[in-house]
Amino acid sequence: MPIDIAIDERSIPAAATSYGARAMETTVPKSTSPENEELVALVTLVRDTKDRGAFAQLFRHFAPRVKAFLMKSGANEGLAEETTQEVMATLWTKAHMFDPSRASVSTWVFTVARNRKIDALRRMKRPEPEDLPWGPEAEPDQADVMSLRQESEKLAQAIAELPEKQRDLIQRAYFGDLSHAQIAEETGLPLGTIKSRIRLALERLRHAMG
């Protein structure tokens, strides 16, 4: 089942549409990205052996992206730098909470950065859902991890293929330029298969541990 999200453009103030033009001065060129399996292996090393070399690799990959994400969300360079370091330190301490059968490493990093952003930029409390009482499995099923990875790649591909205008709106929704009321129901983001995959992983966890 495709889940459709549209953004109600009529309610967006003209000033908000300048997002695409926002300049980013100190960008560095995209490096070749490590595959999600490599990233999962690095997180596992950090979790199990507190491996600082593995953490340094995660840092090199994610810290510049997290910093860009925070600056797009309205942080100045100094605050973005400081907050990025806090986000990366949180990844170190929360490595045991990462569940590769339910999220890619990038998604996990996104949620940690988002929570830090709410705290540091918006100065708001963030009510979080209750964790599943059993937490992630120590060694999740490799087939689950693989399927989740495939679904994540399909989703990224689908987002990349959205018409420019719609992709820009999704970005603005995630970088904080759109309010809840400006995100309207029904039109375009294909979340059906990844949702089913996550749902399945949740059910398996319940059966295995419940």
């Binding site: 090199r60 730098e81 998604t107 009510p127 904080g176 809840h180 996550i198 059910e203």
Partner: protein, 216 residues
């Protein structure tokens, strides 16, 4: 886990996943997701969209000593706290709500609104307002409309209105088009978590006069 029939909208889940939803609405989303695997899976797929955006994000270089500074942060962290024990199965309120109440249902400081109806306003940041409502079985809430959005989630008992039957875990998403008259189903008290982003509008004269005093 019982059957939940009334779920959150995509717009609410996307906004919560993005981290832009008001604190009051976020509390309802977090409380519902705690009880609802379906919405947890939908939420995690909206978070995957955020992950994809981070992946394709351009990059901004950090200062030269950023990695060392991060290791210094890590080394200065206090030792990890003991894992939180699994919640008692007989909690009425999921953890995010217990954090705002300061405990489970017995810790609520109710204020009477008349007719056996009670409320407790929860302290949140932002413009919206969040409250717990306790409505005796068989009793109607005053008929009201909204200027903005109202989310009402059932924690105990059930209510019915023009949109159907709402039991534990169900959430009603009401906008300004909906004028509804929720009636608590006969039997036990119906306890709900309700969040609004604008004051409610009551139709009857007496509630309208009382409104400034009772804080609805």
């Amino acid at each position: 886990m019982g059957t939940i029939n009334h779920h959150l909208t995509d717009a609410l889940l996307m906004s919560y996943a993005a981290g832009t939803l008001d604190e009051g609405f976020s509390l309802v989303v977090a409380t519902h997701v705690s009880l609802c695997d379906e919405c947890r899976a939908r939420l995690e797929s909206f978070e995957a969209v955020g992950g994809a955006l981070v992946d394709e994000c351009e990059q901004v270089a950090l200062s030269d000593d950023a990695l060392d500074a991060t290791f210094a942060l890590i080394d200065a962290l206090p030792p990890a706290p003991e894992p939180i024990p699994a919640p008692l199965p007989d909690n009425v309120f999921p953890l995010p709500l217990r954090n705002y109440v300061g405990g489970d249902i017995n810790a609520v400081r109710w204020r009477p609104l008349g007719g056996g109806v009670m409320q407790a306003v929860l302290k949140t940041g932002g413009a919206g307002k969040v409250r717990l409502l306790s409505i005796p079985g068989g009793t109607a809430m005053p008929d009201h409309g909204h200027r903005g959005l109202e989310l009402t989630m059932v924690l105990k008992g059930a209510f019915e209105d023009e949109d159907g039957h709402f039991g534990r875990g169900d959430v009603e998403v009401a906008n300004e088009d909906l004028h509804h008259t929720p009636v608590a189903v006969a039997g036990e008290d119906c306890i709900c978590l309700a969040a609004t982003d604008a004051p409610l509008r009551f139709k009857g004269l007496v509630p309208r006069i009382a409104q400034p005093f009772i804080g609805i």
